[in-house]
Symmetry: D2
C-alpha cells in the first residue's frame, strides 16, 4: 500500500503518522525521492485502504497488490518521463535512440561516433568505460579515464551519455560525467548497488537479468525508487534459453507486459538481445512496434575492429538505415495509436 503525504506535513507530524500506521500492525517504510515523500505500508491486511485513508497528513492512499509498490502502474496513472535536459527525454511518446560502441576505445573513436550521432539527430550516446567481463583476463575497459574522455567528446557534440556502473564505490567519481547510469544484466540483483543508485539524482537504466523474471526486474527497480530515485528506465536485453542459433533470446513479450505493469519507460537492447549483426534491425523494429520507448544499440565505425561485441555491432550505414526505419515506425505508431 502506498500512502502519499500532504506536502505541508511537518517532520513531527510525519513521525506520528508512521507511528499510527505501525500501531495498526503494519510495517511502514518512509521513502523520500527527488519528487515526493511516501510511506510504503506492508504486511497483512493492506488490501483495505480505509484504515489509513482518514489519518491526519495522508493526501492519498493506493492499494497495490503487486510484490513491488512504487514502480507499479496500479497507483500511478500517468507514465513516467525521464528528462535529461536540453530537450532530451525518454518516455514521452517518441522513440529515444541511444547508440554507441560497446567499449570506449580512445578519443578518435569517441569523436567519430559522436559526430555521426549528432549528424543523425541521435541525442544519447552509449559506451562502456567499466566493462564487466566473464574472464578476468579479458579487456576490462578504459576505466575512469575513458569515461572522462567519453563525456568530453559527447558533450562537444551536445550529446547526453549512458554508461555502465559496476560497483557502489565508482558512483561518486562517475557522477559528474554521467547522464544515465546503466546497470547491467549481471548486476540486476546487486541490491547494494541499486540502493546506492537510489541516493543519486541521475536516471538509472536497469537491465533485466540474464534469466530474470519481470517481477524480479520490477522489484529491483523498487530498490532504486524506495532508496530515493524515481528516474528509472527498464531495459529488455534478451534472456538465456536453450536456443543456440543466437547469443540471447530477445523477449519481445516483456515490452508490452512491463508497460502494463509499471509506469516506468521501457527500452529495448536488440544488440545483446539477439547478438548477431544482421538480425539487429528486425528485432529492434519489433521492439519499437511492441511499444518500446527507446532503443539501445551498439554501433562502431569499423565493427570488425571493436574491442568487444564485434559480432553484434552495426556500422554507420546499417545504423543510419535503422534510425530511418525507427523514425518511420514512430509515425506509424503515432497514427495507429
Amino acid at each position: 500500500m502506498i500512502v502519499q503525504i500532504e506536502e505541508s506535513l511537518g517532520e513531527r507530524a510525519l513521525f506520528d503518522l508512521i507511528g499510527e500506521i505501525e500501531a495498526l500492525g503494519f510495517e511502514a517504510t518512509q521513502v523520500v525521492t527527488q519528487k515526493q515523500s511516501y510511506i510504503v505500508v506492508t504486511g497483512k491486511g493492506t488490501d483495505d485502504i480505509r484504515a489509513i485513508g482518514h489519518l491526519k497528513g495522508v493526501s492519498d492512499v493506493h492499494s497495490v497488490k503487486d510484490s513491488y509498490q512504487l514502480v507499479s502502474r496500479a497507483w500511478k496513472v500517468k507514465r513516467t518521463t525521464i528528462d535529461l535536459g536540453d530537450g532530451v527525454t525518454i518516455g514521452d511518446g517518441k522513440i529515444a535512440i541511444m547508440a554507441g560502441p560497446c567499449s570506449i576505445e580512445g578519443v578518435d573513436q569517441v569523436d567519430e561516433i559522436a559526430s555521426f550521432l549528432a549528424e543523425n539527430r541521435v541525442a544519447i550516446m552509449r559506451g562502456g568505460a567499466f566493462k564487466p567481463r566473464s574472464s578476468p583476463y579479458s579487456f576490462q575497459g578504459m576505466g575512469q579515464e575513458g569515461l572522462q574522455m567519453f563525456a568530453e567528446g559527447a558533450r562537444a557534440q551536445g550529446l547526453k551519455i549512458i554508461t555502465e556502473v559496476l560497483a557502489p564505490q565508482q558512483i561518486e567519481s562517475m557522477l559528474p560525467f554521467v547522464d544515465i547510469f546503466q546497470v547491467g544484466a549481471r548486476n540486476t540483483q546487486n541490491f547494494t548497488l541499486l540502493q546506492e543508485l537510489g541516493k543519486v539524482d541521475k536516471p538509472v537504466l536497469l537491465k533485466r537479468g540474464i534469466s530474470g523474471t519481470l517481477e524480479e526486474l520490477l522489484q529491483s527497480a523498487e530498490y532504486i525508487f524506495s532508496s530515493g530515485n524515481e528516474k528509472i528506465i527498464l531495459c529488455e536485453r534478451g534472456i538465456r534459453t536453450f536456443e543456440k542459433a543466437y547469443r540471447n533470446t530477445l523477449d519481445i513479450n516483456a515490452i508490452p507486459v512491463l508497460k502494463d505493469k509499471s509506469h516506468l519507460p521501457v527500452v529495448v537492447d536488440p544488440s545483446h538481445g539477439i547478438g548477431i549483426r544482421k538480425f539487429v534491425e528486425p528485432v529492434a523494429l519489433a521492439g519499437v512496434v511492441a511499444g518500446a520507448d527507446g532503443v539501445l544499440v551498439e554501433i562502431h565505425p569499423v565493427p570488425e575492429e571493436a574491442f568487444s561485441d564485434a559480432a553484434q555491432t552495426l556500422n554507420f550505414k546499417e545504423a543510419q538505415q535503422l534510425f530511418t526505419k525507427i523514425r518511420g515506425l514512430e509515425s506509424f505508431n503515432g497514427q495507429s495509436a
Copy 2:
C-alpha cells in the same frame, strides 16, 4: 549435398546415377516431390561437389552444410510461395492473415466467424476439429463431423481453411476438406506423421516444438519435403521459459533467423505465443515487422464463452483493429524494404 536431376532422365539412367553416387562412398536418397526430383547425398566428403557434378543426368549440384538440406536457403535462392488457389497465397510479400476460433463449436459459430472474415478480406480461416489436450478428460474437439461443418461454412464464404491433424490415420478422411494441414507443437517431432504428410499434395504448416530449436524445426520440415511435399510453412508459436507472466514466450528472433536459414515462408502465432488477449496485438505486429509472412490468430464472437483458449482469443472489434494495423505495417514494410 543436393543433386538436381535432368528432367528428361529416364528411370534406368536415374538408377545408374544413384549407383554411381553410392559407389563413390556416399549415401544417396532419392526424393520425388510435386515439383521435381532430387538426390540428397549425405556422408563424409559432401563438401566437394566436383566428384558428382560431371555425372550423367545431373543438372545442378549444391553443397549444403546445414544438418537439413532441401529446406535450406543454401541451395534455393528464390523464396517458396504457397499457392492455395483462387488467388490466395502465403509467402509472396504480402501478410497472410489466418484467423478463427481455437475450436470449431457448431455451425452458427462457423458461419458467424466466416462471414466476419469475408467482410474483412481475410482469406484463410483457422479452427480446430481434432484438439490435442493435455488431459484426457478435456474437450477433444468435434472431430470429423466438426471438420466437415467447418469446411462447408468456410467455403460458402470463399475462404480457405487450416486445421490441425494429430495422427496419420486421420489424413485420408481429412484430405477433401482441408486446405492447409497444421502440425502442432506437440507433434513437431512426430516423424511418422510428418512422413505421411509428405505424401500429400496439400500445404503443411509446421509449428516449432514447445522447446524446439530452429535446427530441429528445419529438420522436421526436411522430413516432409524429403517424403515428397514441398509445400511447407514454418510457424513460430512461443517457447517455454521460466517467465510466469505469460503462457509462452513468443520468440521474435526466430522469424528473421528462420527466413535467413530457409526458403520456406514463416508465420507467427501471437495467440499461443504470449497467451494473453490484451498483448496479442503488440506481439503480432512485432512479428510482422520482424519479417513474418503471415499471422495465425485466434478470434471468437464471444471469447469468454469459447470452448478453449478463451484467455488469448480476440473479439471481432479487437480483430478488426489488428487486421487494420497489420495492413498498415505491410505497406510500411513495403516502402522501407
Copy 3:
C-alpha cells in the same frame, strides 16, 4: 474424482449409475482396465464426494484434486508394481536394471550383449529397432526385422525386452515380441499413440518430454491408464536447459517428486540424462539414491562403434562396475529406509 465400482455391478446398473452422476451436473468417463472398472468424474464441485458416495453400485469414492486422476497417489495408497513374468518386476523395492544398446545392429551384437546381461543378473534388455532421428537421413533403425532378432536373442538368454514404439500402426506387429513398450521424449504428448497403448495389455515406459513438466508427464500417463492400461512406468531422462556442458540436464528432483505425486514406478535414464559416458555412473547412482525404482542404461561391447549414441554408451567393464554399485546402494537404501 474417482469412483470405484462394485465388481458385481451389471452393465445396466452401471449405465444407470453413469446417468445419475451426469444428472448431478458432472461429466463421467468410464474406464475399464485389465484390473478394474472406474468412473472418472470431472467438472465443478468434485471436491465433495458425498453426493456420489451413496449411489447404488459405488464401492468407493476418492476426491483427487490433481489435474490427473487415476495415476495420482491421492487415491491409491499402495505403490504399483509391474510384473513382467518369470519373477521379473519393477517397483517392488528392488532396483530394476534395463541395459542394452541404443540401436539393435545385428544378431551378433544382440547375442553378445544378451549373454553379458544374463551373466550379470540383469533381467531386462533395452534396444531400439525403430529409431526416432532428428534428420530423415540418419540411420532409422533395423525395423521389425531387427525387433524380431532382438526378441529372439534376448529370450534365448531368458531376458525381457524393452523397445521404443513410434506410431500406432506399429503396435500390432510389435506386440508378440515386446515386453515393455517405450514411448520416447518426442512422443510424450502424442496422445493418439498413448491411447492406442492404453488398449494393450503390456507395460508402457513413458519418458518425460524434453521440456515437459511433471504435470504433463502425469497427464500423459493418464491417457494410457484411462484408455485401459494400468501398467505404466514413468521415466526421467533429462530436460533441455541452457547448459552446454552436457547433452541434457538430468533432473534428479523429478524422481522423489514423481514418487510423491503418483503410485507408478519411476525409473531414471542417466545415458540420455547427461549424455557423456564418464558421467553416466554418478548420475545413475544419484538417481537410485533419490528413489528411482530402476535404471535404463545404454551399453555396447565397443561403444565407439555403436550406430548411435556412442558418446554416452558404457562398455561392459563400466557397466559391470555400475551394476555392482547400484546393488550396493540398493542395500544401503534398504537399511536406511
Copy 4:
C-alpha cells in the same frame, strides 16, 4: 597458459621474465596468492608451451585450453583441500556438513542450533546476517550485530561459520568473525565483489548463478583466484527452469562435471536446490553419491517460524536423519571408490 615461477626468483628477475613473455606477443598477468606466484599468459599461440618453458625463472608451464586457467584441473592434478583449522576441512574425501538457519534471528536461536550441531558432530554452521531479498520491504537480516552474535554462539560450541557477504564494503568488518565467506547466486558475476574477496585470506564459497553455466561459475572462481585467494569452494544450488513443481531445479550433473573440470571442492545446497522440505533429503543424498565434497543445508528448531525459507528448512529430527544417512553414504562411497 600457466607459468609457475621459481620460488627463489627475485622481483627484478620476475619483472624481466614478464617483459620477455610480453615481447613474445602474449599478455601476462602476474598472480600472487597465499601459496604461490604465477604468471597467467593469454593471447594467441598459448597452446605451445615451448616458447616459454626455457625462460629463466620458470619452474613449470602448463597449457590450459579452458576459458579459465588457475581453477582448471588441466594443470593441477591434486585436488584442493580447504583447511579451516582445528581439524575442520573441506575436500579431503569426507563429506563436510554445513548446517544452520537461513537467517540469524537471535541469540537463543543461535545457541540452540549451535548446541544441536555440536552434539551431532557437525563442524560448520551456516546462517545469514546480511540477506539479499528480492523485495526491499522484506526482512534484510540482522546485519553486523547479528553476525557477531552468530560468531560468538558458534565459537562457544567450537564451530566454524559460513555466512553471506553482499558487498565489498562489508568485507573488512565481517573479516574477524567469518570462517567462510559465501557469495550467493545473485552475486556470482559481481566481479568487483569477487576481486575484493580475492584479497582476503579466508575461504570463499561461490554459488552458481541462478541460470549460470558451469563455465561462468569457473570464470568467476578465476576472478577470486587471480586476485590472490586460492581457497575457493564451488556450490551447486539449483538452476531456474520451466518446472513449477519445485522452487529451483538442483542440477545433479554439475557435481561430477565440476569435479572433472576443476581441482576445487564442490558442495551441494539441496535446500535451495529443490526448495521443498520433504524432498531435501533425497536430493542431498543424490548430491553426495554424485561426488559432492559437502552439503549446505538449512535447519531450524521450528522451521514453520523461521524468518525466511521456512518451506525448505529441516527440523532437528529430519536433520539428524539426514546427517546419519550422509555418513552412511560416505562409507559407501569410500568402499566403492
